[in-house]
């Protein structure tokens, strides 16, 4: 492969004809988000890796049904999330999300040790509250904010409509506030 990277639609078109080099490029472009999405849904690193790889394999085998010109990522994430969900259903376990170890230390940009400590404490509370939410609410917030997925991608991963993403987000934020012991108000 020389020159500029091919646009995604071209890579998909080539992969459809059996060009695995083109598909490798697609995998490399999306493997990080696929793996993280799978991790959110399965709650286990080994399961997430399996789910992401199976998802990519299944996506490849189903490219014939993929509508040319559509964005690849939402379609891929719907497959990967489904794989991950199935693994979690069968395994019946999930590790709660945790803060990175480095977060115990004060942040670089913190104005003072006290402020850094308060900020770290707030993050801990927030994540614990998020972990306590039911799956629907936890996943919609995690997809949108932790993974920074678009609404379309979140809808695909969750297998719901975009409109449902919006309403579920609003309810999830309310619920999160309640978990945090804060009053729910508009704003």
């Amino acid at each position: 492969m020389v020159g500029r990277p091919l646009p995604e639609t071209e890579l998909v078109a080539r992969a459809k004809t059996g060009d695995t080099a083109a598909y490798e490029e697609l995998v490399r472009a999306h493997q990080a988000i696929a793996f993280r999405t799978a991790y959110l849904f399965s709650g286990d690193e080994a399961d997430a890796q399996e789910a992401a790889q199976d998802g990519f394999v299944k996506a490849y085998r189903s490219l014939g049904r993929f509508r040319t010109g559509s964005p690849f990522r939402p379609w891929l994430l719907s497959i990967v999330a489904n794989e991950a969900r199935n693994r979690r259903r069968s395994a019946g376990r999930r590790h709660a999300l945790a803060l990175r170890a480095a977060d115990a230390a004060p942040g670089d940009a913190a104005p003072s040790p006290e402020a850094a400590f308060a900020a770290a404490e707030r993050r801990r509370e927030l994540l614990e509250a998020l972990n306590r939410l039911g799956d629907d609410h936890r996943l919609v917030l995690s997809c949108r904010y932790l993974l920074d997925l678009s609404e379309e991608e979140t809808a695909a991963a969750l297998g719901i409509r975009r409109g449902t993403v919006k309403s579920r987000m609003a309810r999830a934020l309310d619920r999160l506030r309640t978990e945090l012991g804060e009053e729910v108000r508009d704003g």
């Binding site: 598909y23 189903s62 945790a98 993050r123 904010y145």
Partner: protein, 222 residues
């Protein structure tokens, strides 16, 4: 609420999500394999029906859904849900017209056939490595076969799901309209369906047949 949203965005940088992994090598290895021999686990295929929207809510709270498991059909995932997912208008068949010889060449196994009748048409879906045998005009019966499979079925409380034997082979019989999902976002409506495993081939029979008829046809498949 804007403040909370901002905090959640910032939280992302502090959450211990696992680092990116090299996935391609494992994927490449799987793509290079003859899936027929490696993926015994799963089942089926594209069943297709001219379907109208029957469901409303796709999202099913996991607590109220349950995966039904069947010995010998490990890869067949049947999920019992409160409400069936929505389905779309689907073509009656998926794939391209083919012949027995071409299907055998492509799939690496000779499609099994019921003894009583020759198919009116065969279709090959190279992507899912499945062959579809169609019987009757108008369509009465479909038989699909694959050695790999990627699919899920959604059944509601209204669908009976029975474990059956087709000769010595394990199988399941699903009564009534339910939803077949090939995992790629195009759920389809399916009618009475018999699904069974013969060696490393998973077969699925659906159409206007009773359980006794379906079992009789299935037992004659060779």
């Amino acid at each position: 609420m804007a403040e909370l949203r901002r905090e959640l965005h910032e939280l992302a940088a502090h959450v211990a999500l696992p680092a990116e992994r090299e996935l391609w090598l494992g994927i490449e290895a799987r793509l290079a394999r003859r899936p027929a021999r490696q993926w015994r686990r799963t089942a089926a295929i594209v069943l297709v029906a001219a379907a109208t929207a029957i469901g409303i809510a796709f999202a099913v709270p996991p607590a109220r859904s349950a995966i039904l498991r069947f010995l010998g059909l490990d890869g067949v995932s049947i999920v019992r849900v409160d409400r069936l997912p929505p389905v779309h208008q689907s073509p009656v068949v998926v794939g391209q017209r083919t012949t027995l010889a071409e299907a055998e060449r492509t799939l690496g196994f000779r499609p099994l056939q019921p003894a009583a009748a020759r198919p009116d048409a065969l279709y090959l879906d190279p992507q899912s490595e499945a062959v579809l045998l169609v019987y009757g005009r108008p369509l009465r019966l479909r038989l699909e076969e694959t050695r790999i499979g990627i699919f899920q079925k959604f059944v509601s409380a209204a669908n009976a799901v029975d474990r059956v034997r087709v000769g010595d082979d394990p199988g399941i019989w699903i009564v009534g309209p339910h939803v077949f999902d090939d995992v790629f976002g195009q759920p389809r409506l399916a009618g009475n369906t018999l699904l069974w495993q013969h060696g490393d081939v998973t077969l699925r029979l659906d159409g206007r047949v009773t359980k006794a008829q379906a079992l009789q046809i299935a037992r004659s498949v060779q």
